[in-house]
């Protein structure tokens, strides 16, 4: 793999850009791999990358039904933060956030991590108490966040109206090193690094069945024929239940649509990410100048990657009160993704009833921020059978009553 650098750009500029390699190799599946990861989104590719980097396991295939990063990795609002209330969540999300800090250097691929700061607005007395509690919890967990008053919120984000008639801004939970990254680049960067380690990234390859012998996984059937494996990682987000059914077990989750939209591009006006959870909206400005807006999920099961229009209306209507200037913006495009939501709104990184099958899913409405931490932890779980980061996220925690209750702390209305 040729490294990307300023020198490489200069060199290629001298020869009409004819010397660039493919970022990742196009491969057909081999007969057998040590590990197969199903799902070439951020989480699946990160899992494969850290299997290779941290544990030297490189006989790995990453199978993707559609195209690389075409699911929720390419459909989110790119927010990165780790201001969670519960210890297990803070641990894995902060691991992820810290890995984002150096990801561009690690992968030699510019993921445009921009730690511009994230404010979660408190617009009710209940939220004030909730976020002050979270700030205290974060201090104990070693996650740097702080509670800030309305004046500081206004300084950080001057376009905000903090005296709204319905929901005035009463303060906020501020994470200075939270921010955004280029979502596609995260998938592309990991894919390039995996391919460089000799792993096979295979697109348009749908898993149609999971083969088992004596309660242990031995391979998968795919649209490109059967492939054998010793270990199987299912990292397919919204379709986790569908794939689990093929392997013969059930997951405690439901799949619903979550939508986002962007406005026409405008001049730079907002250099932080703002989440307003009471009114179910969040907004940041992309490098292209578009205002990137996300809202809440639909209330019913859906696999169509398109949500209900009235949610868009509700989200924008809510944000207009806090950001009056967006009332005249035209919205450029809107899209939906299928998110996998568990009973306690926390993810599942776990062994399964089938020996050799591991599952990483249930990230619901907040998976992008977790990609590197999720991959790091999942790789450790798959390589060693145990990881301190995943212990609490077992799929069996529900029957044991060990919930990780983040319904309040998670950013989005569920």
């Amino acid at each position: 793999m040729k490294r990307y650098s300023a020198f490489a750009i200069a060199r290629e500029a001298m020869r009409q850009h004819t010397g660039w390699d493919r970022a990742w190799a196009k491969r057909e599946p081999k007969k057998k791999y040590d590990v197969i990861i199903v799902g070439a989104g951020g989480h699946g590719l990160a899992t494969a990358y850290y299997l290779g980097k941290n544990f030297g396991i490189t006989n790995v295939a990453i199978l993707e039904k559609g195209w690389l990063g075409g699911g929720n990795t390419g459909r989110n609002t790119t927010i990165i933060r780790s201001n969670y209330l519960q210890d297990p969540s803070a641990a894995i999300y902060e691991k992820a956030r810290s890995l984002y800090e150096t990801m561009s250097q690690d992968l030699n691929y510019n993921v445009m991590f921009s730690p511009r700061g994230v404010i979660m607005l408190a617009q009710t007395q209940h939220e004030i108490r909730g976020y002050q509690r979270t700030a205290q919890a974060n201090a104990l967990q070693g996650v740097k966040t702080e509670w800030i008053g309305p004046k500081r919120v206004k300084e950080l984000c001057p376009i905000m109206n903090i005296d709204g008639p319905r929901y005035p801004v009463l303060g906020g939970l501020y994470q200075e090193r939270g921010g955004t990254a280029r979502h596609d680049a995260v998938a592309w960067g990991y894919a390039r690094a995996c391919s460089d380690m000799g792993m096979d990234v295979i697109q348009q390859c749908e898993v149609t069945g999971v083969r088992q012998e004596n309660g242990k996984v031995v391979g998968v059937d795919t649209s490109k024929g059967p492939i054998d494996c010793d270990k199987l990682g299912m990292v397919v987000a919204g379709h986790a239940s569908v794939l689990a059914e093929k392997a013969g077990f059930r997951l405690p989750m439901e799949s619903v649509a979550l939508q986002a939209l962007v406005s026409e591009p405008i001049k730079p006006c907002m250099d932080v990410v703002v989440m307003a959870n009471t009114v179910h909206g969040y907004m940041s400005q992309s490098d292209k100048g578009e205002m990137v807006i996300g809202g809440g999920t639909d209330g019913y099961n859906n696999y169509t990657q398109r949500g209900s229009f009235h949610h868009i209306e509700e989200t924008v209507r809510a944000l207009v009160e806090t950001f009056p200037m967006i009332s005249r913006l035209k919205m450029l495009r809107q899209w939906g993704g299928i998110v996998d939501v568990t009973g306690d709104r926390s993810p599942i990184l776990s062994k399964t009833p089938v020996d050799g099958i591991f599952v990483n899913c249930g990230w619901g409405t907040g998976g992008f921020k977790a990609i590197p931490g999720s991959g790091w932890a999942m790789a450790e779980l798959m390589a060693k059978g145990q990881s301190p980061l995943t212990d609490e996220f077992s799929m069996f925690r529900f029957r044991e009553g060990k919930f990780i209750d983040e319904s309040v702390a998670a950013g989005v209305a569920h």
């Binding site: 569908v242 439901e254 019913y300 169509t304 009235h310």
Partner: protein, 109 residues
């Protein structure tokens, strides 16, 4: 916009008049049930890409709970029916079988 026919008041209600209530036909567990049965009842949910049976409430209308049969892959609505039943009515099952032969959902097919 999803439009469901309320079997109680007869209104074709917009999604904004309704509240989704999750999976229908859950078997309620009680004292003496096994841990597995309780786990199923409380946490495991049917999450099919296809035929699904759900509870809905006509919250900004007559206020009644009813059941709906839908497809989660196409958003097609097969029909709605009374909540006072333990399984989908035969005419709705027949309608589903017409376009999706061989379907099954939980204990129903």
């Amino acid at each position: 916009m999803l439009i469901l026919h309320c079997p109680y008041c007869g209104v074709d209600a917009d999604e904004t008049d309704l509240h989704a209530g999750g999976q229908a036909h859950l078997k309620r567990e009680g004292p003496g049930s096994s841990d597995d049965a309780f786990e199923d009842y409380l946490f495991m949910r049917e999450n099919p890409k296809g035929v699904h049976f759900e509870r809905w409430r006509h919250v900004y209308g007559c206020g009644k709970w009813f059941h709906a049969a839908r497809c989660t892959a196409t958003l097609e609505v097969f029909g709605t029916y009374s909540a006072q039943t333990l399984e989908p009515p035969q005419d709705i099952k027949d309608k589903i079988s017409g376009t999706r032969p061989g379907w099954s959902w939980g204990i129903f097919k």
